[in-house]
Symmetry: C2
Subunit: 188 residues, 2 copies
DNA sequence: ATCGCAATATGATTTCAATCATATGTTGCC
DNA sequence: GGCAACATATGATTGAAATCATATTGCGAT
């Protein structure tokens, strides 16, 4: 039901919520209740700039959590806005802090966090590669091409056209196999 | 001495190491000993592609840790190569797992990890902004301009020239103040 | 004081990805 | 079977950032 470390939190600490488009889950400065898990829909975390512009800090998708750091702070430091209607579950921050006393939970939490940090570092390195060809190759090596090329392109922060072209170049250079339309994988 | 959650690990679990340029701290597939803290110098984490190309997964700088996820796995999944000579400290993975039993350590670890995840998510959003002007503005809002504009540009994955030009545009539009040469800050 | 070096700054040119356009293949559905 | 919707492709054009070039400023060392 809940993703990895949170599946052992007692259900008494969980509060299901539903969000319509535009609903504000919390405001910057609000006292923290805890973190949230997106079950369906999408939520944007935003900061407001000096001229009132909204800067997106994070896009939380179904199956992921957000505002984890709020467990360790007194107030939320950004706004959370529902951009696609869906269902959320709020997890009480006290329950997380209590669960961290359990070594099994602490270990699960640590493992999940360390792995997420590693994946994010790698993503930062990959999107930092300027040339589409190098970025696509790095993405392939990282195993980011699961599902459609369009999803792959979005992960790489590239247009799907540029991604298709880079894939073709890599195939032409013999660095990537294209056994059938839409199927690409590394030479083994 | 050691950064945030690791400063309470008993020194018996610490092993100081020195690395020269080109030294391999560990190889992909090696059994894990634990994570590392960079005290001085720089270390690259790399994966080897099918044609032997090296893909950088992460650049670890002085004052930061790397290979945290190795605490929870049996083998390293990438190479660690010293690219600037310096001193490292290896922290025994058993010591981390043992320390997680201590609720105070688990909480410190969780706080640090949650905050790092949040910062990295924000960085991914910022470098995903295509227009230099928007990226620079988002970087300013995020408080990334500490130190030189050159460092700021590197954080944003922009050339320093593009960063200077974007800053000038923002100043021209009145969105950024430039009280003196090299000093930029948001309008309050 | 002045020499050298790095940061700041900006102009000119080039490069490359985004965008726009268009076509074909694929899949699911009635 | 045929249609709609979408993924896969690729060509043409545009736009914006990288790169190259060149000053200028500021600072520390001598």
């Amino acid at each position: 039901m809940l993703p990895d470390p949170y599946d052992h939190i007692p259900s008494s600490a969980l509060r299901p919520l539903s969000g319509a488009v535009g609903d504000v889950v919390f405001h910057q400065g609000d006292p923290t209740h805890g973190l949230y898990v997106v079950q369906t829909g999408r939520v944007h975390l935003e900061r407001v700039g000096p001229d009132g512009e909204r800067f997106i800090i994070h896009r939380a998708q179904a199956g992921t959590s957000f505002a984890e750091a709020s467990v360790f702070s007194e107030v939320y430091h950004c706004d959370a806005v529902c951009v696609e209607a869906g269902a959320l579950i709020r997890i009480d921050k006290a329950a997380i802090l209590a669960a961290l006393v359990d070594p099994a939970f602490a270990r699960a939490y640590g493992r999940q966090a360390a792995q997420q940090i590693q994946v994010q570092r790698q993503m930062l390195e990959i999107v930092g590669i300027r040339r589409a060809e190098g970025r696509v190759m790095a993405g392939l090596v990282a195993g980011l091409l699961e599902g459609s090329v369009i999803e792959f392109a979005a992960r790489l922060q590239l247009s799907h056209e540029a991604t298709y072209r880079a894939l073709r170049e890599l195939v032409k250079d013999g660095r990537v196999m294209n056994p059938s339309r839409g199927i690409y994988h590394l030479r083994p």
